[in-house]
């Protein structure tokens, strides 16, 4: 990359401002009374959507690195992660401040009756430790544990999806799109993880084979490759994302609307 330190600072500021744009637009609509008949819902859903979109963007950086070999997008990982937290916080704030009007009575009445709200709160509580430990200082201090801790974002991605699926009345199109995106982003990681672990065992076996017969190596290779592939498919099938993919297939067969003429 031929971008200097100053250049990166400039790009970071640009990305930061772009990430603030959805917030600015919604606030602007609010000031100009353009939020429609149900302004609280518009704000609440708007911020929730953007939290999920930033979560998808954040989860996309590693796969981009794996597929293209480009690691520079990783520079924005912290910022994007914090924007997930920013929009999720606004989403929650709108709910508590305006939907519940800060009423403890309303909270006690409405929240326990609502599985999807509980799932949303769980998702938010998973994001809190990630935001708190997002600084470079914390990263250094936690060392290896930092990586382990930040794997919570995968769980948060799944609980966010469940939160969305549970609140929908009948039309699952939008949560299915997010589910497909997140499933693919997580599946790429699973495949890579499987390959890594299999490669190690492959090396061990190959060594033994080489010593006896060179010709056997290629056969052994392809057998193991097949095993790796099967293993990946299986782990994907066992993952939480698979039922969602299946569900999508079913909806597609039933014909889900606008796309199908």
């Amino acid at each position: 990359m031929l971008v200097g330190k100053k250049g990166w600072a400039g790009i970071k500021v640009t990305v930061f401002l772009l990430s603030l744009l959805p917030f600015g637009l919604l606030v602007n609509d609010g000031i100009n009374d353009q939020l429609g008949a149900n302004p609280i819902e518009t704000l609440h859903f708007g911020f929730g959507d953007w939290a999920l979109r930033f979560l998808c963007m954040g989860l996309a950086l590693t796969p981009i690195k794996i597929i293209t070999g480009q690691s520079w997008p990783m520079r924005f990982r912290r910022m994007i992660g914090l924007f997930v937290f920013f929009y999720a916080s606004l989403h929650l704030l709108i709910f508590i401040a305006f939907d519940l009007s800060l009423s403890w009575e309303a909270f006690k009445d409405e929240v326990p009756k609502s599985p999807y709200i509980l799932m949303g709160l769980l998702t938010y509580s998973l994001l809190i430790p990630l935001a708190v430990t997002s600084t470079k200082n914390m990263q250094k201090r936690l060392g290896r544990n930092w990586i382990k801790l930040h794997r919570l974002v995968y769980i948060a991605g799944l609980t966010a999806l469940i939160h969305y699926f549970w609140l929908v009345k009948a039309d699952y199109t939008e949560p299915l799109i997010y589910a497909a995106v997140i499933s693919i982003l997580l599946a790429i990681r699973i495949v890579v993880h499987c390959r890594k672990t299999r490669k190690l065992s492959l090396r061990d076996r190959s060594r033994v084979v080489i010593s006896s017969d060179r010709a056997c190596v290629s056969t052994e290779h392809s057998v193991v490759k097949m095993q790796v592939l099967r293993h990946c498919v299986e782990s994907l099938r066992n993952s939480a994302a698979y039922p969602l993919l299946l569900g999508m297939q079913r909806v597609k067969q039933d014909g889900w609307g606008r796309r199908k003429h």
Partner: protein, 314 residues
């Protein structure tokens, strides 16, 4: 000395509903209500098709929701599951000519032109609360006529215990019907005594003018004590039945949407509370309104459900 001016005011006297007012006063009140928002729509009400219809019984003196909000936020899955998109997509629907097919347990079945139905049933204005199952509500000045008056003309037989209504079906026009979100066409139903209740009405207009297409033109049901999804839109078929009809939302999720669907803050939706409602058009700082049992029409309709466990028959 204390001067007692009023003795024993009945709660019914201070509630809104018993106060009837003239059309002109309503317009003035409505205009004042929307003045700050500079919406021209209510001005149109005076020149609209139904500008001078009389105010019917049961019309409540309530602050009416802005027409823009009622016409711009509609659950009309036949067009889209997005409440804003449906308002635009519904424009493609042709509402003239329109006819209603009457079948089943009645002495006078047949296909009736909407014009003929309207000749027999003079319209009036009724301001009703409208409460959606999604926990939002509005107040709408509907134009229409009592449902029971119309049904009686078809002479239902003694076997007619239920009435089923069906929405227009054509996926070419109603693009939402191309998706499998609900089992099309949309079907709703009432028990015959519910249908004959004077509060139940057939609406052909609102705000002094014809119904906008997204609000169910040219003919829709309004059952103010039930959740909005009972108030089926663009009706093309009425069937008198001996057995309870299977209705669209009940079919979709029987555990969530009952056949009765009476507004009831004591019975939460399996996924959310029904104790409060967001009144459309209010500022974001406005508190939610406490939902009333039967949407505030309990005095009129509670007799329909005497002896019934409303938690079971939700």
């Amino acid at each position: 000395m204390l001067i007692k001016t009023k003795v024993n005011i009945l709660s019914s006297e201070i509630t809104d509903r018993t106060v009837f007012e003239s059309r002109r006063e309503f317009i003035k009140a409505a205009a004042a209500f929307s003045a700050g928002l500079m919406l021209p729509s209510l001005g149109q009400a005076e020149t609209g098709k139904y500008a001078d219809v009389p105010v019917g019984p049961y019309s409540a003196k309530l602050a009416v929701t802005d027409r823009e909000d009622v016409a711009g936020y509609t659950n009309y899955y036949e067009f889209s599951t997005n409440k804003k998109d449906s308002t635009v997509l519904a424009r493609t629907l042709t509402t003239q000519p329109w006819s209603v097919e009457v079948v089943g347990e009645a002495e006078k079945p047949g296909v009736y032109n909407l014009e003929d139905i309207l000749k027999d049933n003079p319209v009036e204005e009724r301001i009703y609360r409208f409460r959606c199952v999604e926990a939002w509500s509005m107040v709408v000045p509907w134009i229409g006529f009592p449902l029971g008056d119309m049904l009686k003309r078809f002479k239902p037989t003694s076997k007619a215990k239920f009435v089923e209504f069906t929405t227009f079906y054509n996926p070419e026009i109603m693009v939402g019907q191309r998706s499998g979100v609900l089992d099309w066409p949309y079907v709703e139903g009432l028990r015959i005594d519910e249908a004959m209740h004077p509060l139940a009405m057939m609406a052909t207009g609102m705000y002094g003018d014809e119904l906008p297409k997204q609000n169910g033109a040219p003919l829709r049901l309004i059952v103010p004590w039930k959740y909005g999804f009972k108030s089926i839109k663009a009706i093309v078929k009425i069937r008198f039945m001996e057995n309870m009809p299977e209705t669209a939302w009940h079919k979709n999720a029987p555990a969530e949407n009952g056949f009765y669907a009476n507004v009831n803050p004591e019975v939460p939706h399996p996924r959310w509370s029904q104790s409060r409602e967001r009144v459309l058009g209010s500022s974001i700082f406005t508190l939610k309104r406490d939902t009333e049992k039967f949407n505030g029409y309990g005095a009129e309709v509670v007799g329909l459900y005497s002896g019934m466990d409303l938690k079971r028959y939700f």
